[in-house]
Amino acid sequence: MSPFSATNWSEPEDGFSTTFYEKYTSQLWFPEEIPLSNDALVWKSLSDDERWTYIHASAGLNALDTLQGEVGMPALRSLIDGHIRKATLQFQGVMEDIHARSYSLMNKTFLSTSEEREVFEWVRTQPQLQFKISFIQGVFADPDVSNLGLWKKLAVSCMLETALFYSGFFYPLYMAGQGRMVSAGEIFNLIILDEALHGVYVALLAQEKFGLMNPAEQAYARAWYAQTLQTLYQNELAYTDVLYAGVNLIGEVKRFIRFNCNVLADNLALERPFPDKEINPVVQNGIEARGTTHDFFSAKGSSYSKVRVETLSDADVEAIWAGGFPDLNVSNQVVRVSHD
């Protein structure tokens, strides 16, 4: 057994993990920061069908985030080498747990106890959702830890992050784009920002493994991927039929799923499975991963994060008092991490 080493953040294990770790920590958020109760009155004004789709979409996402936090990330973390990479994946797992908690808080805010119970029971018995979960669990549990085996695990994780979550995301994006359920929409916005990063990070790890395979393995991997995606895509279509029947959006959601499968393929450097089609522009603008401009007094925007702490020096102060200004591009060296 080799001696156990400490994490050396000064010696990167690759060209990207540290950046992702820093990005994750800087955009850490908690659902308590968003005043969900602002939406309570709007919630009451929704039709029964609208409420049903909204809350069941969220509940399905809750189950998938729970899966990622509890099974997916720990599995990847234990199999991927490198202290920094493991730390990054672990943090990603924490984010998934926070997402799951957000959905649960939404239930708590908008539903009565018995409605809440019904929704959780629905998750336990919804066939397409359960199929999706157990299929992916199966891949995570597969004892094959060769490059190919690892790549499969990374790839299904990406499928969740970049494609399979989106049948659930469609509705809150569609609503928030029209000014309905804006605070909850803000939570979805934050989650989508997180997932976008997760999908890219894990895909970079996957591409690395893919590069280590020989051509025959790569060909096998491509075929396996095409088949797996097809299976999960068909399942997603059936799930959409159930989830969106009441609100007449089935066609648009399916187009959205195909769109995201293409993004997934781009991330994994594989061929796009579907022809490019326009998606609903309101939903498309909703997934643009960027901060939004906010009314001065409305919901907390997704635009704040932790700031880097760097001490002001005597030289800085004197420069300003002398009528000048310090060169902010030259660091003052004494950099601390925020002490909170």
Binding site: A176, V182, V282, H294, D295, F296, Y304, V307, T311, G323
Partner: protein, 695 residues
């Protein structure tokens, strides 16, 4: 999904920005939404009868004018063939300002109707109303939202919506009174600033018992809850800010309540926080020394002084040396850094540099400036009130609070009108009318201040969009020259109009005697040199406008000495929101934040390409986050020289920014004489930028 929402979203859904989709959205919005859903009247008479009989328009308004005069005002409103320039502008107006049927299914007013009725309500004769309606429809200036929304209505809400309260003195009667004032103002949609530095700090004694008071946070939490409770019938939560001195022992406690990592119990969710910062503190920060933060009750017991009355420059050393006063030691730069950390996380606190505000306080004879409002542009002296328990109200002493009464010039339209003086005079006339029409009896110190001081605040918006249209770079020397000349001219005409009202009506605000207006000191810079354009480029922009010369100012100063002024303050530059969309102008005098804004509010997500944005002009629409913020601060400092109150000034920084950069900007702003900094906005780098630093 509604077609116009989809079309509007198409502006940025493609690979390149396509502003023409916005024109389509605008057209479809009128064709499919506004026009079919507007109640039809055969003529004006029928419209007026219907709306007055249904209790929507104020019937007494039409008794003040002859029918033909009313018709003339409406006809003038419709004569300009007004068109909205963006879907955002139209949807803002028709969703927020135009009156609808009680079930909100159909419109009762069009744009021109709202402007005509506002002109009639805010004027005393038909000539005045015709002049006002000209400005309102051509949008040379726009009144603040509550004035535009509520004028001429039968069940009128207040015409003003921003208040400052200094009542919160250190006893339970005053605190509960303040809470009830906040509730009263909040339910009517007000934004409220409350000064809290006189409150005893956490752990101070109460009736001689040590360690029992909950300090400023205890009161702040109550205010926070109250704002969310009194929420205008669920439409939107109230809005408020507390102002607390950095010299107060609870300052860091309150600051951390705005941090995102704070637990639910201690977090201030709705309430904003402003920090008042004396010169002495800035000096200690400069030197890198420690300061003492004081416990107000202990200080009061020892000296008999209220916290907010302390002159820190004069008294700090004596207080620091006094062993009988409880205090704690902390590094001034560390406090500044905490402010920067909290701003980085939450955008707050606002900063009020007390020294800069008070050095040029024109009515120091009335009192000192201790606080600001929710948007940090209102800066006026306040005096605390003293309240007593039920049954002993006779002992109450009513101080001076503030109600802010605001309007903004639209720079582009004001410049194109060819006559700044005419525009400003009309705007001051409207604001004066609002002051005279306002009586907030529920909050006696607000009523007293408005009755006696009649303060108003004329500001401006659309600076960046105007500059871009003229192919000038925001924050460049030419742009700064424009700002200097423009605001000097606005100041002249505003002050002159205020003098004329005093002369013509005999009303002079109380406190004029002994003020720096009366002595002429407030106008010293204008008697030293002309504020007229130096370069040909800027001179060309002002062609045709009557710009004041030194001789004009000399005349005005002597007229003021003779006739007095009707308003204690005449200017303030507010952050403009909805009204700048309606007027197709960029916000306030800040740089634009995005060439194409994506705006989320309780209405749909709306895409808003900046006014006149095209492939040719794009270059001049530099986004605020990409700028060295000194350009923003230089712009604000140039305007501030001519603005008797404050300017709402936001800092825009990239997410890679550090606390050092923020602190450097604070010090730079302070050195320029800027009075307040509003909040700091941070742009998150998006995924692509993030990856570009990876690959």
């Amino acid at each position: 999904m509604e077609r116009w929402i989809e079309l509007n979203n198409k502006v940025i859904a493609g690979n390149v920005v396509q502003p023409q989709h916005d024109k389509d959205a605008l057209q479809v919005y009128f064709q499919e939404k506004v026009n079919p859903n507007t109640v039809f009247f055969h003529d004006l008479k029928e419209k007026i009868r219907y709306l007055t009989e249904h209790g929507i328009w104020d019937a007494s308004l039409f008794e003040r004018y002859a029918p033909e005069d009313v018709r003339a005002v409406f006809e003038r409103a419709y004569s300009y063939k007004f068109h909205f320039q963006s879907f955002m502008g139209a949807s803002k107006f028709y969703n927020e300002y135009a009156t609808m049927t009680p079930d909100r299914s159909r419109w009762l007013e069009r744009y021109e109707d709202r402007m005509a009725i506002t002109a009639l309500a805010r004027s005393e004769g038909v000539e005045e109303a015709l002049e006002l309606v000209h400005h309102l429809v051509t949008q040379t200036f726009t009144p603040a939202t509550p004035t535009l929304m509520n004028s001429g209505k039968a069940n009128t809400g207040r015409l003003v919506s921003c208040f400052l309260l200094q009542d919160c003195t250190d006893n339970l009667d005053s605190i509960t009174k303040t809470l009830s004032f906040v509730a009263e103002l909040s339910k009517g949609g007000g934004g409220i600033g409350v000064e809290v530095s006189n409150l005893r700090a956490r752990g101070e004694s109460l009736r001689g018992i040590q360690n029992v008071t909950k300090g400023v946070m205890g009161v702040a939490k109550m205010l926070d809850n109250m704002l969310r409770y009194a929420d205008q019938a669920g439409q939107r939560p109230g809005a408020g800010a507390i102002y607390l001195s950095v010299m107060h022992a609870d300052f860091l406690d309150v600051l951390s309540a705005k941090k995102i990592a704070s637990d639910e119990d201690s977090r201030l969710k709705t309430l904003s926080v402003g920090a008042t910062i004396p010169d002495m503190f800035m000096e200690k920060a400069r030197l890198g020394e420690d300061i003492f933060q004081f416990y107000p009750h202990s200080l009061w017991k020892e000296t008999g002084q209220e916290f907010s009355d302390i002159d820190w420059t004069r008294d700090y050393q004596a207080l620091a040396d006094n062993a009988n006063i409880c205090k704690k030691r902390v590094s001034a730069r560390r406090v500044l850094e905490e402010i920067a950390v909290t701003q980085g996380e939450s955008g707050y606190p606002y900063l009020l540099f007390e020294g800069n505000a008070n050095r040029v306080n024109p009515i120091a004879n009335v009192g000192s400036i201790k606080m600001s409002n929710l948007c940090s542009e209102i800066l006026q002296p306040t005096l605390p009130s003293y309240f007593h328990a039920y049954g002993q109200e006779a002992k109450d002493r009513i101080g001076l609070d503030v109600s802010c009464n605001l309007s903004s010039l639209v720079i582009e339209q004001t410049m194109h009108s060819g006559d700044i003086g005419r525009v400003v005079t009309a705007a001051i006339g409207l604001l004066d009318n609002v002051a005279r029409s306002t009586s907030v009896t529920e909050v006696p110190a607000v009523k007293r201040a408005n009755d006696e001081m009649r303060s108003i605040g004329l500001g401006a918006m659309g600076l960046h969009s105007f500059l871009a249209g003229q192919e000038l770079i925001y924050g460049s020397p030419e742009a700064l020259e424009f700002v200097d000349v423009f605001f000097a001219a606005v100041h002249y005409h505003a002050r002159r109009a205020s003098m004329q009202i005093a002369r013509d009506t005999g009303f002079v605000f109380s406190g004029f005697e002994g003020s720096r207006y009366q002595s002429g000191e407030h106008f010293a810079q204008y008697l030293e040199r002309d504020f007229t354009p130096q370069g040909a480029e800027i001179a060309a922009l002002f062609e045709g406008h009557a710009l004041p010369t030194r001789a004009d100012w000399q005349q005005l100063v002597s007229d003021i000495q003779q006739h007095g002024l009707a308003h204690s303050f005449v200017m303030a530059v507010a952050p403009t929101g909805s009204i700048s969309y309606v007027s197709h102008a960029s916000a306030s005098i800040m740089p634009i934040t995005e060439r194409v804004e994506t705006r989320t509010s309780n209405k749909a997500r709306t895409i808003y390409p900046m006014p006149h944005l095209s492939a040719d002009t794009e270059w001049y629409y530099e986004e605020a986050y990409d700028m060295d913020q000194r350009r923003v601060l230089d712009t604000v400092a140039a305007a501030q020289k001519h603005v008797d109150q404050g300017i709402s000034c936001t800092l825009f920084v990239p997410s890679t920014t550090s606390t050092r950069a923020l602190q450097a900007y604070y010090l730079y702003a302070y050195r320029l004489g800027i009075k307040t900094l509003y909040y700091t906005r941070m742009r998150k780098t998006n995924l692509e930028e993030c990856l570009s630093c990876v690959v």
